[in-house]
Subunit: 436 residues, 2 copies
């Protein structure tokens, strides 16, 4: 039997052409996080299953996680997300560290799921979290950061929107709907899937909750909210104007005017049954062919609770590389990365060429010049297409003539410049490369 | 029961202070590989177990690998090394790609082993491989790259050496010892552990191989070789001078004179029973407290064989982050990375300060200035220690006076400069930061 050359189901091989695209995404992630003063962290690939159970409950664990027992009898899982790990790490150090704590990471994650567009078994996720930001300032900063990040690719209001909600508002309205907490839980589930199921299924499920007509109407009013002002009207009617004002003030005070147009109130964003307690949001692609969430997150008050640590409010988001790349591709926002980037292609057209050049090559590299060498003699006419392929604008030629004179010939292809230099005149050669 | 805050056994949490060190190592890896024209690739975290079995045999798989059955009945493993993955990927594309193929990667890998100094269950490994380099040119380039890489940290001949051998030479000598191929296999095993076991155990095991006195003497002569010239003498005596000459010519022709002093012939380096067919090498730390291999590798002719592909010779190495960091720490070659790097700390000493500054902050970041903001009003005397902690040389102050005048005050701490600017004069503020 011949061995398969395919990657494992739901994972990707990144040959250099593909890896350059991913590295471009990663580089923007690093850059953006660092411009906001977020510090890079990372954690283990494996965590004990208990950690995920404590955070997400049994259900997610059993369905979607790669877990197994190690030889020492520990039940471990490959990380499906970064939040439990960052919570564990912050729980360990938060008492000794000045607040706010701003951390980011770009881990590879594994989830057991049926591969489909935008969802693979292995992906990388840009995670940013801020812990201990006062008041709602952390929430505002995280939203600013996401918008800044997507703008750094050239995306704008025509490409994406930030759909936002607040769990405290949802809780307030649901309490008006019913004081039965178990029903709140069911309402959350219903909201969470409201965009994905037909209207009559939704109504059927709603009718099964034994709510009175007034409650059903209120819930449906809630679900039909279209804007911040709709929300304010509803809350005012419920005698909860101060909550509306508070939310409105948060938005208008802390989100700068150039970022405001991205924000849209959306009652269907609740982020599942997760651990969020404050704002929740999803960044949505506006492209008609790709109407999906690029990123989601929110604020959580009690993430450290599972470690018996005092509460430390946090806000964070996760943004996957697969959905990001789909988004950028849909809107044609990726640069041409089909070629590598080299500075200089070294070639020779005479015997023992590489040997004569080895000292020069070593010194050029020490001077931070990206040098790719062709390892055997090559004819001049073949040098040009090779340089093109290697993304090198400079080529070095070394034939019998050069050898006889102790020289090398350099060409700058884009400007059709050519010059010869003594083989040991590093400074002049370096100058030609930097300045020609 | 409270959840543990510790990372899983044999893995590490990288809080930002630790991650900065790892990122420094990674950045040097990227830089060095790219200066040599190597292109970044990556592969999946999981591979089917069959792939590892085909490459390494059952033994390694069962002992050292994290493997399990997925829900679809596939036997998969978390990658313990990158070579099988790169072989699979190259097998897929090598026919369409110009040679040589130069690839590098820095994957996270998992091996099931007892954690000890320099050996953890999870580590990252710098992998460089060149496929299809003509003659021995690939071998030479890989050695040049490793030396260049370690020199980029400031390491030199006093810190490390490259112990080198050649499997074709070992084969030649073993064939003189005996023509029994099974015994060759045992001799390889013996050589591989010769440095780790006492001399009498070695002699005992050797005596069990049923070799005649002359063969035993030859094997022992081989093991006692100390230098390239010792090797040449032995091979000359055996009537194999041309092999010695070839090896010698390879070294002296292709390794430049400034790198030659790092190379030392070592008969005990064979790299186990692995798939190597040409040169094999290990980089050894010279520090008396840390006499260990930092990196190992070699040349292989038949890596694609398991995919039924035509042979494509390759050379490569793997270098782990744990051993590298131990090496650099032993020799005090790591810079001080205890603080983050930010450009500007934004603070305010008046109400709604952050709100007034939000537009300026956004623009500074768009101008690539790393801005970390303090999210609540803070007294002047607390600003300085905070800036120190955040690694920011510039601070911005915005108190009642500044607010009244519509200005901000900037200080450059290292030069004790201070100046005030209109809050909307982005250019002058940016200039001050770039040029002060």
């Amino acid at each position: 039997m011949t061995l398969s050359k395919k990657p494992y189901k739901g994972t990707r091989d990144f040959i250099p052409e593909d890896k350059r695209v991913q590295d471009y995404l990663f580089q923007k992630m690093h850059q953006c996080a660092q411009l906001f003063g977020y510090e890079h962290y990372d954690g283990p690939l494996l965590e004990e299953v208990e950690l995920y159970k404590a955070k997400s409950g049994e259900e997610l664990i059993n369905d979607q996680i790669y877990s197994f027992e190690d030889r020492g009898g520990r039940f471990v899982a490959i990380r499906p997300e970064m939040t439990p790990t960052v919570a564990r790490m912050v729980a360990k150090i938060h008492k000794e560290v000045a607040k706010p704590i701003r951390w980011y990471s770009i881990p590879n994650l594994l989830r057991y799921e049926r591969p489909q567009r935008g969802r693979l078994r292995e992906h990388w996720q840009f995670n940013c979290d801020i812990f201990g930001g006062p008041g709602r300032m952390g929430e505002a900063e995280i939203i600013q950061l996401i918008i800044f990040f997507l703008e750094s690719f050239g995306a704008n209001e025509s490409h994406f929107e930030v759909l936002i909600n607040d769990r405290t508002i949802v809780d307030t309205i649901f309490t008006e709907v019913t004081d039965n907490e178990e029903t709140h839980y069911k309402l959350y589930k219903l909201v969470d899937k409201s965009k994905k199921i037909p209207k009559d299924s939704l109504e059927k499920e709603l009718s099964e909750l034994n709510l009175n007509a007034k409650s059903i109407e209120l819930f449906q009013n809630y679900l039909s909210l279209q804007s911040f002002s709709d929300l304010t009207s509803l809350l005012t009617k419920l005698g909860k104007k101060e909550i509306a004002d508070d939310f409105h003030k948060f938005i208008s005070d802390s989100i700068s005017s150039d970022q405001l147009p991205y924000l849209k109130y959306d009652p269907t964003i609740v982020r599942g049954l997760d651990y969020y307690t404050g704002i929740v949001f999803e960044v949505f692609d506006k492209h008609p062919d790709n109407r999906r969430a690029i990123c989601g997150g929110g604020a959580y008050a009690n993430l450290l609770q599972i470690f018996n640590e005092s509460p430390l409010p946090g806000v964070g988001f996760g943004l996957g590389d697969v959905t990001l790349q789909d988004f950028l591709t849909s809107h044609n926002l990726l640069p041409d990365l089909s070629k590598p980037e080299n500075d200089l292609l070294i070639t020779f057209q005479t015997d023992s060429g590489l040997q004569d050049l080895s000292s020069l090559i070593n010194k050029l590299r020490k001077g931070n010049i990206k040098v790719v060498t062709h390892l055997e003699a090559i004819k001049l006419k073949k040098v040009f297409p090779l340089a093109e392929k290697k993304g090198a604008d400079f080529i070095l030629l070394y034939g019998d003539d050069e050898k006889a004179k102790g020289e090398v010939t350099l060409k700058k292809l884009s400007r059709k410049l050519q010059s010869s230099f003594p083989i040991d005149d590093l400074n002049t050669i370096t100058n030609f490369i930097h300045k020609a």
